[in-house]
Symmetry: C2
Subunit: 652 residues, 2 copies
Amino acid sequence: MEKSKELLQTISPKEVHIQDEFWSGYNKLVREVVIPYQYDALHDRIADAEPSHAIKNFEIAAGRSEGEFHGFVFQDTDVAKWIEAVGYSLMTHPDPELERITDEVIQLVSEAQGEDGYLNTYFTIKEPDKRWTNLADCHELYTAGHMIEAGVAYYQATGKRQLLDVVCRLADYIDTVFGPEEGKLRGYDGHQEIELALVKLYRLTGEEKYLRLSQFFIDERGQQPNFLKQEWENRDRINFFVGKTDRIDLAYSQAHVPVREQKVAVGHAVRAVYMYTAMADLAGQTGDESLYEACKTLWNNIVHKQMYVTGGIGSTHHGEAFTIDYDLPNDTVYSETCAAVGMVFFAHRMLQIQPRGEYADVLERALYNTVTGGMSQDGKHYFYVNPLEVWPAACHHNPDKHHVKPVRQKWFGCSCCPPNVARLITSLGQYIYSSDEDTIYTHLYVGASADLPIGGRNVRIQQETGYPWNGASRFTFTLEKPQSFTLALRLPGWCKQAALTINGETVQYASLLRDGYVYIQREWSDDDVVEWNVEMDVQVIHANPKLRATAGKVALQRGPLVYCLEQADNGELIAALQIETDQPMTARFDETLLGGCTIIEGSAIREQEQNWGEALYQDHAPEQTRQSFTAIPYFMWGNRGEGDMAVWIRKA
Amino acid sequence: MEKSKELLQTISPKEVHIQDEFWSGYNKLVREVVIPYQYDALHDRIADAEPSHAIKNFEIAAGRSEGEFHGFVFQDTDVAKWIEAVGYSLMTHPDPELERITDEVIQLVSEAQGEDGYLNTYFTIKEPDKRWTNLADCHELYTAGHMIEAGVAYYQATGKRQLLDVVCRLADYIDTVFGPEEGKLRGYDGHQEIELALVKLYRLTGEEKYLRLSQFFIDERGQQPNFLKQEWENRDRINFFVGKTDRIDLAYSQAHVPVREQKVAVGHAVRAVYMYTAMADLAGQTGDESLYEACKTLWNNIVHKQMYVTGGIGSTHHGEAFTIDYDLPNDTVYSETCAAVGMVFFAHRMLQIQPRGEYADVLERALYNTVTGGMSQDGKHYFYVNPLEVWPAACHHNPDKHHVKPVRQKWFGCSCCPPNVARLITSLGQYIYSSDEDTIYTHLYVGASADLPIGGRNVRIQQETGYPWNGASRFTFTLEKPQSFTLALRLPGWCKQAALTINGETVQYASLLRDGYVYIQREWSDDDVVEWNVEMDVQVIHANPKLRATAGKVALQRGPLVYCLEQADNGELIAALQIETDQPMTARFDETLLGGCTIIEGSAIREQEQNWGEALYQDHAPEQTRQSFTAIPYFMWGNRGEGDMAVWIRKA
């Protein structure tokens, strides 16, 4: 376990107090709107939304009431993710009333646990004798994993052990069922999640068996004879959702070959990135080089061949899955919000092993574009799918696009994404910094003060920033006494020009730059002021020519934000526009638009349909006119009703 | 029935002997390969292809053998379409052995008919008590319709009444079951077909009740209370294919509103165009103006808003259906071969009511691009789906494109398309000319001699042509004696320049041109030679700017042929090419390529992936190089193994 010494230290969100123009609003929204809204949703109190029945299931399993199980087989996880989000929120924003109602939910959850430690309302209510007979489809360990994450977060927030004890009993029980030993199941879940949760539980409790169990699940996956295939044969080839099947798609669950032999990201995208996250956790924790190599290979495959410019992943709604390298259609896309959340997890874990700017670049790209885009500005509407090109009429009337919604939805029958966004936002603090013995790494530019242990002392670092609208950040410290350490500032991959001053004096940073971080080593005192300005220019982004879907098109990016053109600003038929990238484009902050955002304006050519006539096809080009265009940040799209939207625009 | 007097006379394929560089080969292929191959397929004798079981079903229904029904509920139609194709072939190419084996098949079919006239092997074998209980799904009248078409064609070819008598008994029986009278079903089939077949049967027999029954089916469709909906309620909302359903999609079968209220083509594309064909048949036959108006409205909707440049229709594989106006994706496309065949039917019927060039233009477009493209040059492989853009790897690995095959297939479980192509090709003669009392209309340029009744006398018209490779055609006549009549030559919509000579003398045709036809009235004699040259230039085709899928792209067309770029000629990644339409493009006949075809060559710019590096996205454009491109006729694509293909190419 030599490697664990080298791991960067993750900073608990408890130690990071965000005060930020951009994020404080999000955090407030989650605290004041999303958490209460989702609490109501879990209790089936949202009018016009599909009832969740998640709390009701726990009440029935706990014996408090009678009734049938309803919802997905993994319905419990909506409750778990809500508790986890509450935990992170309480870390920095104590709220006795919220804590009280959460304690009530936790009491309910604990009553639903069996004497042996088993906890899963579906099997407890509906098929008590079918436990562990369909790992491929039934998400039993996945569900356990989310409850473990909730137990860890809530304990860290409140110091209350009730849910932590529940999940330790649950994990202990699972450890008696699964493992390499004679008489145990050599199995694993169809949907990865428990693997990363067990690492968290190990880190909190120090209990080695949780780490071993996680490693077992990862190592066993895809081995021969194939557990999921055997299990499927044993149940007479019954799939839980569709009945009798004539084949099982092991790649869908990344169980087709052992994880170290996987070179290409395949299958269900959320399962994949949750697994890669756990692999990176384990590689970092245990120093497992072959596992780390597999992580790097899979990272490179996604980032260099299968990731949308918005940081989204998953090209098809069939199986919510990856397809093949360079296949990134913009309109039949999936790019699930949860997969972008998972991409943040994976990037974060890779960054802890090795602080390379590329990992933070991708983390930032997924966070600022797809994760934030997944939730409306009112906190009550969500995207499950995050398209890069939308024609609303086709979404409504062409079944190939039925999964693409032109506006955010209130809730979903399978509502994995809303609480996933909530828990990510409330835990955002942990992604801003890392530390090791003598270095503070600044990964994200978010206004916040954080307490970090450096050289045996507490260092408080204060950050103010104009991000994501401008790249000027300012750092100060509160120290016990002047102290030598290194401040490592990330130079974003998109940044072409930056300026560094310390106490007003310009510092040439080029020689201090390594792998995307500028390392400033000196003795720091409370009077020191570091100003770091990563200039945000409008950038015209091209894609690899192998990416067929974007051929001839460009995207606009400024700082971490990818932009899009919407009908509301540019008229219908965005497809008929070509932007003139050789003309000046200007960025300006528009206070009135969508609560304030930086827009990009420029010149475009439009093919006119007015004088075209009736024929669909003619042997001459349509007339062209010039118009101005306005691009808005992609994450803000779809907040002004239905209309055409596109990220990739033809270049004149 | 005043209108019927104005209908142009359709020429029986029996009267038209094709001798043509292009089509004689196809006809020979159908006679020598396709008909025998499909005979073997119907008898389950093709190795590696899904067994048809179609003949076996008839043997069981006829009591000749024991066993279960297999195949689709409409499996009988493959036999019917085969007999129909044989019928057309025998009209001009007598073949005693083929006739003998077809007579055997017909004997078998007649033995499978019930005493009451009912004929359908599925219901006879499997659910004899369920007749007429699921018109929505079970294709009973559709199947009857195809057998009626076969009976008509085979009688016209051979004078043999056996199958004609079978289908008359069948139609007589159906007439006792369906109709407006008390005690009859006020119903119609989910899949239109019998409507157009009954018009054919009426025209052959003169029996008015067949025409009335067809009109009843058309008039009743979509009326309230809705027959298909009531029927569905009556069977406890069971769908034959998927079981219990919570809704029935009436638009899928064009039964959502009465046909005269339908303004937009919706639902299953083949059902739609078969219905519009029957509507045009009836409107022409009976002078029903409101029905004719509906035909024109639906025609305009398809041709001006929902038709691919290849003449294909149907934008989605979900329901094999139309979607909405201007939604014509090139890669997730359906464009079923059968729908293009149906489009030929619809265009042909509209042309008989009013000889307007637009109808023949569309007929020609569908015929020369999608129908011919549907069959391989060896006559043994077929496309069901006819994409305009193919990336084979995505077809194999992205489930959104699983229906798009990069090469033609041997046979299909649902093998409607191969025999549909066969029957269209063997009956091609009927689409070349029409006549009225004193005019010969030339719709298609195909080398052929035809006997037409003009002014009470037989006129033999001989045509030689270079079509589709060049537009020079030559007409001569064999007359009883010199005779006055009008020769109407179609000026194709794509043609910008034509030249007409009579006996070597140039004729200015502009003043003779009306609605796409040049009307030449004079006294003709056997010595007259008409030369009509419709010049074929390479044309750069643009689409209406509302057609999002083709924005920034052009297609190449020359004469009736739409072109495409294939990987075999241009390298992989057609998407990375932009053709330079301002540089010269040349067309030349390449005798060695694909058995000989005219190719288009020109200059293109390619975005290079070689020096791009690892990143998917960068803030600079890829390097560009110049290369030549070669375009081949679209109908010939996919004959050289798997590779990229595109009809719409970016314009530099």
